[in-house]
């Protein structure tokens, strides 16, 4: 976006552009952070930085799963609801069943993965557009969640302290939460570059027909992307519970849009085929940093939403500009080869 002028002369090397994109997002985080620190020195406090990281963690985590889905030209709008439902279900089990702490994570992930599997099945087997499937799922889960909660909010006193510790403990000043998310981002990011099934996701999003012709089992891969997105949203639910220790049926409301905004700002193409989970996580960090910075400079917090929106447009405009430039390159290159000339025709082969 603005941090990187003079990219792309003629034919860009996509890999370097993408790397530049992530570097650009990271640079923008630093610029915003620096500017805010100049206005308010407390902004660079350990506490403040911890808050920044924690604040971005959940969106970044959901953004990882969302990236997998969007890369395949699909969308998962149910992530916020899944997070809310998993957070409540695990909290409810803690207070009524007294399950062990570790199983809270397992159950949340399993429940999330199960919902992701339903999304994936309907999308790939029944071939319903995922936008519709996951939108329906968003509302269904919201309804179920409201019925389950039914006024009985999970309270901090009902969450085991060992579980809640995940939400506030630090290692060397780095919040547990941020470490967990960073590990997930690193692991998934590595996998997305390194393993064939993960590369298949990019192929599917880049050219679905060609992916089929290349023998890629598109249905299975897209299904797995949805399961992963659900599982990560489930994990997000457990982390939400650990972080806030209090869950009602508004947990995670509206997260899906924040997640998609973060993913797109982070350089994941909304029509699939390109983008990285690292970029998505940086996008989440950028949006959160802007929000916190506006609070720090005592600007109205309403501005942060407007700025997030503007950033989104800027990111999409940048994408569009990039692809137009490349397309123009393609057209002129094509022109040179287009006509098999008169001479070709005349010469006997």
């Amino acid at each position: 976006m603005t941090a990187r002028p003079a990219l792309v002369p003629g034919a860009p090397r996509l890999a370097s552009v993408l790397r530049a994109r992530e570097a650009g997002t990271a640079a923008l985080v630093l610029v915003v952070f620096g500017a805010a620190t100049l206005r308010d020195h407390n902004f660079a406090d350990v506490n403040s930085i911890q808050q920044l990281l924690v604040g971005a963690s959940l969106i970044a985590l959901l953004g990882v799963g969302e990236t997998l889905v969007i890369v395949t030209r699909n969308y998962d709008l149910s992530v916020g609801s899944v997070l809310g439902l998993c957070a409540f279900v695990v909290g409810d089990l803690f207070r009524h069943q007294h399950i062990p702490v570790w199983s809270g994570f397992v159950i949340a992930i399993a429940l999330g993965a199960a919902i992701g599997a339903i999304n994936g099945l309907i999308t790939t087997v029944a071939r319903v557009p995922s936008l519709v499937v996951t939108l329906a799922m968003l509302y269904i889960i919201r309804g179920v969640d409201a019925k389950l909660v039914n006024g009985h909010i999970v309270l901090p006193s009902q969450v085991p302290s060992a579980f809640a510790a995940v939400g506030y403990r630090n290692i060397l000043g780095i919040p547990w939460l941020a470490i967990i998310v960073a590990v997930v981002v690193a692991a998934v990011g590595y996998a997305m570059r390194t393993f064939r099934p993960c590369r298949d996701l990019y192929a599917i999003g880049s050219n679905p027909e060609a992916a089929t012709l290349a023998g890629i089992p598109s249905g299975r891969r897209v299904f797995m992307a949805f399961v992963t997105s659900g599982a990560l949203a489930g994990l997000g639910g457990a982390l939400f519970l650990a972080l806030f220790a209090q869950v009602d049926n508004s947990a995670g409301v509206g997260y899906e849009l924040n997640v998609i905004a973060a993913v797109v700002v982070g350089g994941v193409a909304i029509f699939g085929g390109s983008g990285t989970v690292v970029g998505a996580a940086l996008g989440a960090l950028l949006l959160n940093t802007i929000q916190q910075a506006l609070v720090a400079v005592r600007s109205s917090s309403y501005w942060s939403e407007a700025i997030a929106g503007a950033l989104l447009l800027a990111a999409i405009a940048f994408d569009r500009w990039l692809s137009l430039r490349v397309a123009r390159g393609l057209r002129s290159a094509k022109g040179a080869h287009r006509d098999l000339s008169v001479a070709d025709r005349g010469s006997p082969t």
Partner: protein
């Protein structure tokens, strides 16, 4: 899943030695009596082909003859409804493209099937990238192998660059590299040369020869019959979804091939109605576009077909685009029916009575998922609307009129254009513009990628249009077409008019001389 081959009784007599029948080694691939239907449309009725190791086999037929369906059966994309596929003497069923590939069948499709967002190297190896310990993709090896294949092909492509932005020819090169990397025993090429220059075609033939020496079988599909003769030892001809014959290339010639393809004599391929040109419809004066072409002046009169010929990059399409106003012009003027056209304004050109049929009809001429009726009516909306509403019945009526005038072959007028063959799609584009009853028709490569039979129909349509008093400006790279259809031929060389020939004095030779800038003096 495919119903067992209920053959046994019906056995078509093929004109070549059966498997193991001759002294030749056995077939590597043998498809027998394959059939495939899509709903009510029988795309393939009786597809048979035998491929021997070390042999290039040509497959020809009109569009809609079932070649592409046959290819997709070999590729494992379609499962045949009937018939059997035998590889190395064993009947096989391909569950999908991966199974076909595993059996050693590689396919280069007509339309490049690349992933624009991924690197060239990854495009080549998608789904079977070289891996090292832990099944991790070995990018270095992938890049190395890509470079090695490009070296074999004699091209220098950067394996790290994204496929987006590659020229069509380079995309085709990547497709070929993909097929080579499979070390396939059967290489199927569905019109691989459509976008290649002759240098690249020669190179492709060299690669084909190398593959054959290695014992691979090549199935080569092309509309360019000369290429089939140049590259193939045996040829199979298909018509209307059926096997017609297989014969050694040496026993066939172009005429007999075309006869077998269309099932009749083409007769005079070009029919020309003598029309005395009427008043001037289009007058182009000193038209120029900075750095592309300059000093272009000519006129087209009623009932006249004028062809723009020239080499690659001579600026033919660019001149046409500037006339119609798609591109800005830097100087000069364009008069249509005596009135000046503003530059860079296609809607003004349309309103004044011009129509432009672009070369890339999929991209620029048609809405592929919309019905034939909508597509035909698309450019006539103003005329069809009543108080701002478009009545479907009016669209239908218009479309039906043109469908019958253009002898369109279709199932139902509301069917999506994407269900039609390439030639019929071209007729829909024509119909869309002709429905406006233009005074001037500009048409770019009217018959590119169209089979011989439909080609003749398009030529007949152009002739009939001229006879009706339409002025036609045609751009074509096919000399026989230029010579056969046009009343006058303008030859562009490097953005300038190099020569003008009347129909009677034009020959392939003098057009080519003018196009290559060798002469102009011996032109009239």
């Amino acid at each position: 899943m495919s119903g067992g081959p209920a053959s046994a009784a019906s056995r078509g007599a093929s004109a070549d030695p059966g498997p193991g029948g001759s002294g030749q080694a056995g077939t590597v691939l043998h498809l027998r009596h394959a059939a495939k239907a899509f709903g009510a449309v029988q795309a393939l009725t009786d597809g048979s082909i035998e491929l021997y190791p070390g042999e290039a086999h040509g497959l020809v037929g009109e569009n809609g003859a079932g070649k592409s369906t046959l290819v997709k059966i070999l590729a494992g994309v379609y499962q045949p409804d009937a018939g059997e596929l035998i590889i190395d003497g064993e009947p096989v069923t391909f569950a999908g493209p991966a199974a076909a590939r595993a059996a050693g069948v590689a396919v280069i499709y007509q339309e490049p099937t690349l992933f624009p967002d991924l690197s060239v190297a990854e495009n080549i190896f998608m789904g079977r990238q070289p891996v090292r310990t832990g099944r991790r993709i070995d990018r270095a090896a992938m890049s190395r192998e890509s470079v090695a294949i490009f070296a074999q092909l004699g091209v220098a492509l950067d394996p790290a660059r994204p496929a987006r932005g590659l020229s069509v020819a380079d995309q085709q090169i990547v497709e070929i590299a993909k097929a080579l990397s499979l070390e396939a025993r059967v290489l199927v090429m569905d019109e691989p040369t459509a976008a290649l220059t002759n240098v690249e075609v020669d190179r492709l033939f060299k690669v084909m020869a190398a593959l054959r020496r290695r014992g691979a079988a090549v199935l080569f599909i092309s509309h360019r019959l000369e290429e089939v003769f140049a590259g193939c030892q045996r040829v199979t001809i298909m018509r209307d979804g059926r096997f017609v014959l297989t014969a050694p290339a040496t026993e066939l010639d172009v005429d007999s091939m075309i006869r077998a393809m269309i099932g009749r004599d083409l007769g005079a391929m070009f029919h020309k109605t003598g029309v005395t040109p009427g008043e001037t419809v289009l007058e182009v004066q000193d038209l120029a576009r900075e750095g592309v072409f300059s000093d272009v002046s000519f006129a087209v009169r009623r009932g006249e077909i004028v062809a723009l010929a020239g080499l690659v990059g001579a600026g033919r399409t660019e001149v046409a685009r500037a006339i119609f106003g798609i591109d800005q012009r830097s100087s000069g003027s364009v008069l249509l029916l005596g009135k000046p056209l503003p530059g860079g304004n296609p809607s003004a050109a349309m309103a004044a009575g011009a129509a432009f049929v672009p070369e890339d009809r999929r991209q620029e001429g048609l809405v592929m998922d919309m019905g034939i009726d909508h597509n035909v009516a698309l450019a006539s909306m103003g005329r069809l609307s009543r108080g701002g509403l478009i009545f479907r019945s009016a669209e239908r009526k218009l479309a039906l009129t043109w469908a019958s005038r253009l002898q369109l072959r279709y199932g139902w007028i509301g069917n999506a254009v994407s269900t039609l063959s390439g030639g019929n799609q071209q007729k829909v584009v024509l119909g869309k513009w002709l429905a406006r009853q233009p005074a001037l028709l500009i048409i770019d490569e009217p018959t590119r990628g169209i089979d011989v039979g439909t080609k003749a129909e398009v030529h007949r349509i152009l002739d009939a249009l001229a006879a009706d008093g339409v002025a036609v400006l045609m751009i074509s790279s096919e000399l026989p077409e230029v010579l056969g259809v046009a009343d006058r031929i303008l030859v562009l060389h490097e953005g300038r008019l190099a020569a003008e020939f009347a129909r009677a004095e034009a020959t392939e030779d003098n057009i080519m001389r003018a196009a290559t800038g060798q002469a102009g003096k011996d032109a009239a």
